[in-house]
C-alpha cells in the first residue's frame, strides 16, 4: 500500500450564523471531528447532501481556511502558515477545481493566458518553455491551440471545465481537490470530463479528493468513498463495496434514492422528514430524526466511527463494532 499523502486528523470548523435581522448568532458546525487519510495515487470520493460540510472539508484540506481544531498533514508535514514561503511551496503541489468553471475564469482574458498564469506566478521556465507547456496542457485536456486563443464566453461548459483542469495541472501538482467538477454539465459532456479525469489521474499518478453529491459519478471515479452527514463522516469504505452493501442507514437511503434505469421504485427507502438543518443539529446521532431504524439510545449518544471489518468504518449504534456483527 502506498504511503499517505494527506492526513486529516479530527478537524472541526464552525461558522457564526445570524438568524433574522436582529437574531442571536448561532454556531453552525459545518465540519465536526472529521478524520481522513488519502494515500498517494488514491482517489477518495466524498458524498453527502448539500450543507453536509463537503466543501468546507475540501477548503480546510487545501489550507485555504484553517480548522478550529484538528490538523492536516501533507506529505508527512503539517500545513505551513498561510502566506509563508513554505506555504506557497506546499500550495503549488495542490490545486482545486470547482463546479462553476465560468466563475473560476476571467472573462476578459484568452484562456491560454489563464492556463499560463500559475507558471508566470511561480516563475516556471522561460517564456518559450511556458508557451510549450500551455500547448502540452491543452493537448492533455483534448483541446487545440485554437481553443486556447478563445475567451471563456466562446467555449462550452465542458470545454471551460477542461481549461480549469489544464490550469490546475500547470504546476504539476500531486494533489487535486475537485468540488462538484461535473455537476453543472449535461450527462454526455459529464462523461467526457469524467473519462478525462480518470485518464489524467492514471497518467500523472494524481491523488484526488473528489467531492460530489452524485453517487454514480463518485463510484465511477473513486477507489474509496466517505459519506458525510451534518459535518461528520458516517461511513467510509471501498467504493464498489460501499455502494453494493451500504451499512449505515443513511448510506442505505442515499443508495436507494438514486434512480436507476430499468428498476421501478418498488422497495425504495424513502426517508421521512426534511433535510437536516446544520444550524440545529440533533443531539445524539444527528440522523436519528429521519432514521427508520433509530432506537432510544440514538437520541442521546453520538455513535463513533468504528471499524466493522475489512476496510469499512461505520458510525451507527446498530452496526458499530465487531460485537454487533457477531450478535447479528
Amino acid at each position: 500500500m502506498s504511503p499517505p499523502l494527506v492526513e486529516v486528523s479530527a478537524i472541526s470548523r464552525s461558522y457564526a450564523m445570524r438568524s433574522g435581522m436582529f437574531g442571536r448568532s448561532t454556531a453552525v458546525h459545518a465540519v465536526d471531528g472529521v478524520s481522513l487519510t488519502i494515500r498517494k495515487g488514491e482517489i477518495l470520493g466524498l458524498v453527502g447532501e448539500s450543507g453536509s460540510g463537503k466543501s468546507t472539508t475540501g477548503r480546510i484540506v487545501l489550507g485555504l481556511e484553517p480548522p478550529d481544531r484538528g490538523e492536516v498533514r501533507f506529505d508527512g508535514k503539517p500545513m505551513a502558515a498561510p502566506g509563508t514561503a513554505a506555504w506557497r511551496a506546499q500550495r503549488a503541489r495542490m490545486q482545486m477545481i470547482f463546479q462553476d468553471p465560468l466563475g473560476a475564469l476571467d472573462r476578459r482574458l484568452p484562456v491560454a493566458a489563464q492556463i499560463r498564469e500559475p507558471l508566470d506566478i511561480h516563475g516556471v521556465g522561460t517564456i518559450a518553455e511556458r508557451e510549450d507547456r500551455v500547448r502540452e496542457l491543452l493537448r492533455a485536456v483534448e483541446l487545440t491551440p485554437a481553443h486556447g486563443a478563445r475567451y471563456p464566453g466562446a467555449l462550452s461548459g465542458g470545454q471551460r471545465q477542461r481549461i480549469v483542469l489544464a490550469r490546475a495541472l500547470a504546476t504539476k501538482p500531486d494533489f487535486l481537490v475537485c468540488d462538484e467538477p461535473v455537476s453543472a454539465l449535461d450527462v454526455s459532456i459529464q462523461a467526457q470530463v469524467v473519462n478525462l479525469l480518470c485518464d489524467l489521474q492514471a497518467q500523472l499518478g494524481l491523488t484526488l479528493l473528489f467531492i460530489s453529491h452524485d453517487l454514480r459519478v463518485v463510484r465511477q471515479i473513486s477507489n474509496n468513498v466517505a459519506v458525510m452527514y451534518l459535518g461528520r463522516i458516517v461511513e467510509i469504505g471501498s467504493a464498489d463495496d460501499l455502494f453494493a452493501r451500504p451499512e449505515h442507514p443513511y448510506t442505505q437511503a442515499l443508495v436507494s434514492a438514486s434512480p436507476a434505469p430499468g428498476r421501478r421504485s418498488a422497495g425504495r427507502i424513502v426517508l421521512a422528514g426534511d433535510p437536516p438543518n446544520p444550524a440545529a443539529r440533533p443531539q445524539g446521532c444527528a440522523f436519528h430524526p429521519r432514521c427508520p431504524r433509530a432506537i432510544a439510545r440514538c437520541a442521546s449518544e453520538v455513535p463513533a466511527l468504528s471499524s466493522v471489518g475489512g476496510d469499512r468504518q461505520v458510525a451507527c449504534h446498530l452496526v458499530s463494532g465487531a460485537e454487533t456483527r457477531e450478535a447479528a
Binding site: E49, S50, S156, G158, Q159, D186, V187, S188, I189, Q190, A191, Q192, V194, N195, C198, H213, L215, R216, V217, R219, Q220, D240, F243, A244, A253, L254, V255, S256, A257, S258, P259, A260, P261, G262, R263, R264, S265, R268, V270, L271, A272, D274, P275, R290
Partner: protein
C-alpha cells in the same frame, strides 16, 4: 381512442432562429410520459408553446390538441381556463412561482376559486385537504405561513398542491426535483406518483436525469436539438435504445453497481440553434453518420409496436449495439 394531448409538427422560432423543429408527441389519458434530453434541447419550450406561455416574439406553428380541440391560436380566455384547470404545470424553481408576500392559504384559495366551483368554507376546507394530501405536517397551522417559512422540498410540495387544486387531467412537471437533494427528490417523486394514481391524472415528467424518468414513467421520449428522436416504453428504451443519441445518453451514465466500465462519452457538443447542421442534427456527433444523413432530417418512423425512431440507420445502429453486447 383520441389521445388526451396530441402535438403535431410543433415548431418555435425566436428572432428567426428555430429552436423547435417539428415536434410530434401524443399522450393518453392517465399516462406518464417522460421527456429527456440535454439542456437547450427544447423540453421546456415544447410545453410552454403548447400552453401559450411563450413571450410574444416567439413564432409558433403546428398543432396542439387537447381532447381534439386546437390550443394553438385559441382565444386567451379559453387558454386561461385550460391552464391550471385541465392542464397544470410545475417548475424546477418552485420558489419563483409562489408569491412571497401572500400566505399559503391565500394562494391555494385563489387557485381554487379560479378553477373550482367552490365558495367560502368549502374553499378553506379544500385548501386544508390539499396541504394534507401533499404531506405538509401540521397543515392546519401551516396554512397561514409564508413561502419563505418552508424548506425547498416543502415548497415543491406546496407547488404540487397548487397545481392539482384545479383537478387537472394532465400535470406537466418540468425538472421538479433538479434543485433538491437526493433523499428529498425521492420523497417528491413518490408523492407525484401517488397523486397521479389517486387522481388518475396524466403526467409529463421533464428531466435531464434518465433514471428519474425511467423509474416514474410508462413511456419516454428523447429530445435532441428541437426534435423527438426516439420514443419507446421505458423498459424497452433502456434495455434496447436504437437512436445513436439515446444509446449515447445511456452509455454515458455511470453504473451504480456491477463492474465499472469506461463511459461512452458522446463527442462534441449540442449544435447552436443558429447554426444547425443540415440533415440530421446529430450527424456531427454520430459515430454511424453516413453521407445520406446530411441530406434531410430523418422523420420519426415506427420500428416496432409503440416505438418510433428518427434515424435513417436505425437498423444498423441496432446491430452495432447488439454487436457490442455480444462481445
Amino acid at each position: 381512442m383520441t389521445p388526451l394531448v396530441s402535438i403535431e409538427g410543433l415548431s418555435v422560432a425566436f428572432n428567426g432562429v428555430p429552436v423547435l423543429r417539428g415536434v410530434d408527441l401524443a399522450l393518453g389519458k392517465g399516462e406518464a410520459l417522460g421527456l429527456v434530453g440535454e439542456s437547450g434541447s427544447g423540453k421546456s419550450v415544447t410545453w410552454l408553446a403548447a400552453l401559450g406561455l411563450l413571450p410574444r416574439h416567439a413564432k409558433v406553428s403546428g398543432s396542439v390538441r387537447l381532447d381534439g380541440r386546437e390550443l394553438l391560436g385559441a382565444p386567451a380566455s379559453e387558454l386561461d381556463q385550460v391552464r391550471g384547470g385541465r392542464v397544470a404545470m410545475i417548475f424546477q424553481d418552485p420558489a419563483s412561482a409562489l408569491n412571497p408576500v401572500l400566505t399559503i392559504r391565500k394562494q391555494l384559495c385563489e387557485a381554487l376559486a379560479l378553477h373550482r366551483n367552490l365558495s367560502g368554507e368549502a374553499i378553506k376546507a379544500e385548501a386544508l385537504r390539499l396541504l394534507n394530501l401533499v404531506g405538509i405536517p401540521d397543515a392546519g397551522r401551516r396554512l397561514s405561513a409564508y413561502p419563505h417559512e418552508f424548506s425547498g422540498g416543502q415548497v415543491q410540495r406546496i407547488m404540487i398542491a397548487m397545481a392539482v387544486a384545479g383537478n387537472p387531467d394532465l400535470l406537466i412537471a418540468d425538472e421538479p426535483t433538479t434543485a433538491l437533494d437526493a433523499t428529498i427528490q425521492a420523497q417528491i417523486l413518490e408523492l407525484l406518483s401517488t397523486i397521479r394514481r389517486e387522481m388518475s391524472m396524466a403526467l409529463v415528467l421533464i428531466s435531464h436525469d434518465l433514471g428519474v424518468v425511467a423509474e416514474n414513467c410508462d413511456r419516454v421520449a428523447v429530445m435532441y436539438a428541437g426534435r423527438i428522436v426516439e420514443q419507446a416504453p421505458s423498459n424497452q428504451l433502456f434495455a434496447d435504445p436504437v437512436h445513436p443519441y439515446a444509446q449515447g445518453l445511456i452509455g454515458a451514465l455511470p453504473p451504480l453497481d456491477g463492474p465499472r466500465r469506461r463511459l461512452t462519452a458522446i463527442p462534441g457538443t449540442v449544435p447552436d440553434p443558429a447554426h444547425m447542421p443540415s440533415g440530421c442534427a446529430f450527424a456531427p456527433r454520430c459515430t454511424l453518420a453516413a453521407e445520406p444523413c446530411a441530406l434531410a432530417a430523418p422523420p420519426l418512423a415506427p420500428i416496432a409496436e409503440d416505438r418510433v425512431v428518427a434515424c435513417i440507420r436505425a437498423e444498423a445502429s441496432r446491430h452495432a449495439l447488439l454487436g457490442i453486447a455480444a462481445e
